[in-house]
C-alpha cells in the first residue's frame, strides 16, 4: 500500500454517467486481488475525503489498471474532468480481503452478480476466475439500457452465461438480478456479489444453503486504512464489528449483518 501519483491514460464515458478511467504507474504491480480498491484524492482543492473505487481490471504488461465509476456526486463529478496525462494521487491497493478466486476448483462453479457500479469488481473477479479456468456465469443488473456496460467484456472472458437484467426491461430481461438468480437451474458452489446493500441482502436470502456467498460492501470512508472507524459493519451476531476498508471490503455473507 502506497500513496503515489498515477498518470491518467484515459477517462471516458462508457454508459450514462458512468466513466472508465485507465491509470498507469508502478503501483499497478501491487494490484492483484479482485475486490480490492483505490482511495483516490479528488483533484479539486475543497475535497478533504478521498473516494474509494474498486479496481475493475489490471493489465500488468501495460502497467495499467482500469476503474469504472459512476458520477453520483461532487467528487466523482470532479473526476470526470480529469484529462489524459493529468496525475491522480492514489492510495492503495486497499482492502484486506478480496474475492477469493483461488478458492474454487475447476469442477466448481461461481455465479457473479453485480448491480450498477457493483459491476466493476465483478469484472476483475471474472478475469481472475477465467485465468484459472473456473467455470462462472454472470448476472448483471442495471436500472435501464443507457446504464449498461461491460456486457461484451464479460462475454469475451467466456463466461458460461451473461444475463443482463434491467429494472425497466429496456434491455436484457426485465426484473432484478434476484429474478435471474432464482431462474438458475442449478445452484453454483459460490456466489460473488457487489451492489447496493438491499441487493446483497436479497442475494444472501435467495442463495441456497450449500452456496457460499461472498459480498463486497460499501460504506462512507475516512482513512481507508483502518484507523478512523468510519466504515464499520456489525458482525451477523451483533457482538462485534468489522472494518470494511481493512477487514473487507469482501466478506462471507454470514460474517456480517447486512
Amino acid at each position: 500500500m502506497k500513496s503515489v501519483p498515477l498518470k491518467v491514460v484515459r477517462n471516458q464515458e462508457i454508459a450514462e454517467e458512468t466513466y472508465e478511467m485507465i491509470l498507469s504507474g508502478e503501483l499497478v504491480q501491487e494490484m492483484n486481488r479482485p475486490g480490492t480498491f483505490l482511495h483516490i484524492k479528488i483533484p479539486s482543492s475543497h475535497h478533504v475525503l478521498r473516494r474509494p473505487i474498486s479496481i475493475a481490471s489490471v493489465n500488468q504488461e501495460l502497467g495499467t489498471c482500469t476503474l469504472v465509476y459512476k458520477c453520483t456526486g461532487e467528487g466523482t463529478r470532479a473526476l470526470t474532468n480529469v484529462r489524459p496525462n493529468d496525475c491522480l494521487q492514489v492510495l492503495g491497493p486497499l482492502g484486506g480481503q478480496g474475492f477469493p478466486t483461488e478458492e474454487p476448483s475447476t469442477d466448481q462453479e461461481v455465479t457473479l452478480i453485480g448491480g450498477g457500479v457493483g459491476v466493476p469488481p465483478m469484472y476483475f473477479a471474472a478475469r481472475s476466475l477465467s485465468e484459472r479456468n473456473i467455470p462462472f456465469r454472470v448476472i448483471l443488473g442495471f436500472q435501464t439500457e443507457a446504464a449498461v456496460f461491460y456486457e461484451e467484456a464479460f462475454k469475451q472472458l467466456q463466461a458460461m452465461d451473461v444475463t443482463i437484467m434491467t429494472d425497466d426491461g429496456s434491455y436484457g430481461e426485465k426484473g432484478t438480478v434476484i429474478d435471474a438468480l432464482q431462474n438458475l437451474e442449478q445452484p453454483s458452489t459460490y456466489i460473488y456479489t457487489c451492489g447496493p446493500r438491499g441487493m446483497l441482502k436479497a442475494v444472501k436470502a435467495a442463495a441456497q444453503h450449500d452456496t457460499t456467498v461472498y459480498v463486497s460492501l460499501e460504506e462512507h470512508m475516512g482513512c481507508g486504512i483502518g484507523a478512523c472507524f468510519a466504515c464499520v459493519c456489525k458482525t451477523e451476531d451483533e457482538t462485534s464489528y468489522v472494518k470494511i476498508c481493512t477487514d473487507g471490503p469482501v466478506f462471507q455473507s454470514n460474517e456480517v449483518l447486512l
Binding site: 484524492k41 478533504v48 486504512i225 484507523a227
Partner: protein, 305 residues
C-alpha cells in the same frame, strides 16, 4: 532529528510540535505501516472509554466544502484493551502518547484514567469534554464552566500525569471554560474539537449521517480554531495544543503565532496519510524563511499576553 523543532510540554517531550489528533490516527498501528511513528512529536490516541463502545450507525462521515463531518461516536475497545493491546504496541516507538479520555459520567472518565495511568508511555492525558457525537456525557462537560472544572479536579486527583483538557468550540465563551479548567488544575489545553454540523442528502431529504449531526473538522474550521486559540491565549499561560484544519507547515506556523505551543493534525491524515511527516519535513524551510532558529521563538509571538 533537528533540535530546532523540539518543544517541551508537560509530560510530552516532543521532537517537533506535530502530533496526529485524537480519532484520526486510531492507535497508530495502521499508520505505522506507512512511516516510522518515532518521527512524530507525540501521538494523541483515539478517545478511550471505560468499556468498549461500538459507536453510532453508519454513515459516520460526510463531506462539506474544505471539511468533513464525523459521528463515529467514540468507537473504541475500552480502557483495559487499550492498556493491554494498544499501548504496548506503541512502546516500540520513541514517541510520547497523549491518551484521550472520554466517558458518559465523571466516574467513567476517572476509571479510564486509573486504567491507563499504569502505561509508561502515556505521557499525559487529554480529557475530551467536547465530543459532540455521544448522547450522554462528552459535550455537556465542555459547555458549562462549572462542570468542566468539576471533571478536571476529579481527574487531577486520580493521576500524577499532566492533564490537558480538550475544549469544545460550540460555546459562547471558550475563554471562560479555559479559565475554569485552569483553576481546577489543568496542566494544558487542547483546542478545538469539532463544530457541530449537519448535511442533508437532497435526494432522500434525510440527514447524510445516520446520527443526523456530526462534528465539522478540516480546513473549513481553521479560522475559528485560530480565533479560539488566540482568545484562550489572552487569558491563560497554560500550554495550548492547537488544532483545527491544519494541513501544512504554514498552517502550523499560523497556529504557533496565534498562541499554540504545539499542534495536532486530524482530518489532513485522511486527505493525505503522510500529512504529519510531510509537515515535519517542511517545517525547517519555513523557519528559515522567517529567520527563526528554534520553533519556540515563534510561540506566542503574534500575541500580547
Amino acid at each position: 532529528m533537528s533540535e530546532r523543532l523540539a518543544v517541551n510540554l508537560p509530560g510530552l517531550s516532543m521532537k517537533n510540535p506535530i502530533m496526529p489528533a485524537s480519532g484520526c490516527f486510531g492507535f497508530g498501528r495502521e499508520f505505522s505501516e506507512l512511516y516510522d511513528l518515532s518521527l512524530l512529536g507525540a501521538i494523541a490516541i483515539k478517545g478511550t472509554t471505560g468499556e468498549q463502545r461500538f459507536g453510532n450507525n453508519t454513515p459516520r462521515v460526510a463531506e462539506s466544502p474544505s471539511g468533513m463531518l464525523n459521528s463515529i461516536g467514540l468507537q473504541n475497545p475500552g480502557a483495559k484493551s487499550v492498556r493491554d493491546n494498544e499501548l504496548p504496541f506503541l512502546e516500540q516507538f520513541d514517541v510520547p502518547i497523549l491518551a484521550n479520555v472520554s466517558g458518559s459520567s465523571p466516574e467513567e472518565y476517572v476509571k479510564v484514567v486509573n486504567t491507563l495511568n499504569e502505561a509508561s508511555n502515556v505521557g499525559a492525558f487529554e480529557v475530551n469534554i467536547s465530543c459532540p457525537n455521544v448522547k450522554t456525557g462528552g459535550i455537556q462537560f465542555g459547555t458549562d464552566p462549572e462542570q468542566a472544572a468539576m471533571l478536571t479536579s476529579l481527574i487531577k486527583e486520580a493521576t500524577n500525569k499532566p492533564v490537558y483538557v480538550k475544549l469544545s468550540p460550540n460555546v459562547t465563551d471558550i475563554a471562560a471554560i479555559a479559565k475554569a479548567v485552569e483553576h481546577a488544575g489543568a496542566n494544558g489545553l487542547s483546542l478545538i474539537n469539532t463544530l457541530i454540523g449537519m448535511r442533508f442528502d437532497w435526494r432522500t431529504k434525510k440527514p447524510i449521517l445516520a446520527n443526523e449531526k456530526g462534528g465539522l473538522s478540516g480546513p473549513a474550521v481553521k479560522p475559528v480554531a485560530l480565533r479560539m486559540v488566540y482568545d484562550v491565549r489572552q487569558v491563560t499561560d497554560l500550554p495550548i495544543i492547537g488544532m483545527g484544519g491544519i494541513e501544512s507547515a504554514k498552517d502550523v506556523i499560523e497556529f504557533l503565532i496565534a498562541g499554540a505551543d504545539a499542534v495536532a493534525v486530524g482530518t489532513a491524515n485522511f486527505t493525505n496519510p503522510f500529512a504529519c511527516i510531510e509537515i515535519i519535513d517542511e517545517l525547517p524551510t519555513w523557519l528559515d524563511q522567517l529567520n527563526v532558529n528554534q520553533v519556540s521563538e515563534l510561540q506566542r509571538r503574534g500575541v500580547v499576553l
